[in-house]
């Protein structure tokens, strides 16, 4: 079990009726590695993340997180995975502290005032801990979602366009935060539409096209322009 890669997808297929979204997708993310998942709208990026997060059932194939099967061992997978979707799971009429207390209690996580305060401080939201989330920017809501992960310490992060809609400063902060997660041995799979943002933290990029992984390559010294050219070569259309 310990030798299993944190994220392993083999021959995955997902169809909604006659519409095939993912077809024979295989992908692996190793410990301490970040993979950026690129693809046109409807290429199946979010579907893949949702299958790995056990929110969708695959039609065929295998998806494993931390060595556990996403179809048959959902409880174990959920214990290891942190999902940051578009909505960030925040209740608008609660404060960050109250939001965190809610999810920590439901999730069986540390919920003492010190633990919650510490998590908010880690994402630099401690100064607005008692303000209503309704007044927050998208970047601040994303940071609040990340505070959950500070408490839960998942070994795998699944991020759905984490850099979309946030400003330069928030993007840099997120880069740093994800870099630290990776350095601690965490595995990260994130979807992105941007060739610049999010890629500095990624070690590899995978391009989804026509339901398949059309390209899976280390980013190494590739510049954003190189990434764009590779993307245009392998994706169905531009982002």
């Amino acid at each position: 079990m310990a030798l299993d890669p944190p994220i392993q997808v083999i021959g995955l297929r997902k169809a909604f009726g006659a519409h095939v979204v993912l077809d024979d997708v295989s992908l692996e993310v190793r410990p301490g590695e970040a993979v950026a998942l690129l693809g046109a709208n409807g290429a199946g990026k979010t579907t893949l993340l949702r299958i790995l997060a056990t929110l969708l059932r695959p039609s065929r194939g295998t998806a494993r997180v931390a060595g556990y099967d996403c179809l048959r061992e959902t409880a174990e997978v959920r214990a290891h995975v942190g999902l940051l979707a578009h909505g960030a799971w925040v209740y608008e009429d609660l404060t960050p502290f109250e939001n965190l207390r809610f999810w920590a209690t439901l999730g069986g996580l540390p919920r003492s005032r010190e633990a919650l305060g510490g998590a908010l401080a880690a994402v630099e939201l401690d100064r607005v801990a008692d303000e209503r989330v309704r007044t927050f920017s998208l970047g601040m809501k994303r940071r609040l979602a990340l505070a959950r992960f500070v408490l839960a310490r998942p070994s795998v992060l699944l991020l759905d366009e984490p850099f979309a809609g946030i400003d330069q400063r928030a993007g840099k902060w997120l880069d740093g935060h994800l870099g630290a997660f990776k350095a601690a041995g965490g595995a990260l799979l994130m979807t992105t539409h941007s060739f610049g943002r999010g890629l500095p933290v990624a070690d590899r990029m995978a391009v989804l096209a026509a339901g398949r992984v059309a390209l899976d390559t280390p980013l190494g010294a590739l510049t954003p322009d190189d990434v764009r050219r590779l993307y245009e070569l392998h994706a169905e259309d531009g982002p």
Partner: protein, 225 residues
Amino acid sequence: MIYARRAWIVLWKDFLSERRSKETLNALFFFALLLLFLFQFALGADRERLTAALPGLLWLGFILSGLVGLGRAFLAERENDCWEGLVMMPGDKSAIYLGKVAGNLVLMVLVEAILLVLFAVFFNIDLATHLIRLTAVIGLGTIGFAAVGTLFAAMTAHVRARELLFPVLLLPVQVPVLLGAVKATEAVLRGEPLDTVAHWLGLLAAADAIYLTVGVLTFDAILEA
């Protein structure tokens, strides 16, 4: 203990959100007021007609305002993908259901209390003499309504025509509760002891137990669906 804590945190979250936004309570208050005006116009000053119709009107008010309130029960969960968050939480999800039922119960009891006071004022009825027995009947009826209403609200939360589907699904299932509650309320308002309507109260208690049990057993599957 952990189960109770998880149910409590859901109730606490709903209560806090409602206390701050007051969205549902304000809407329900004005809705209740509007209903009473309509009843007043429909029945006029005929005392005899009013006495005969009162139990039904009272429950019609409770049910209609309850439908509006319960229809919004999972609105906050639909925002910001919080529903997904609940799905991914570990442990027994029925604690979330019971927390939600408790939150809806608190809200409905508040609205019912307001409605009762308004009924007493609008129709010049002395409800105070029947208050304890009336509270028992209304309590039993409301538990059943909240239990199955919360479950159906969750079932229809992601359906496109949920505003239409929710009452269409809920009301037929509520027939035993409505029947028992109206009959028992009628007897209480006539000044009869509760013993005379023990069979209706038994029906209400049984419906409550069945609805709550079904909710506890099926909520996990509904959440994941």
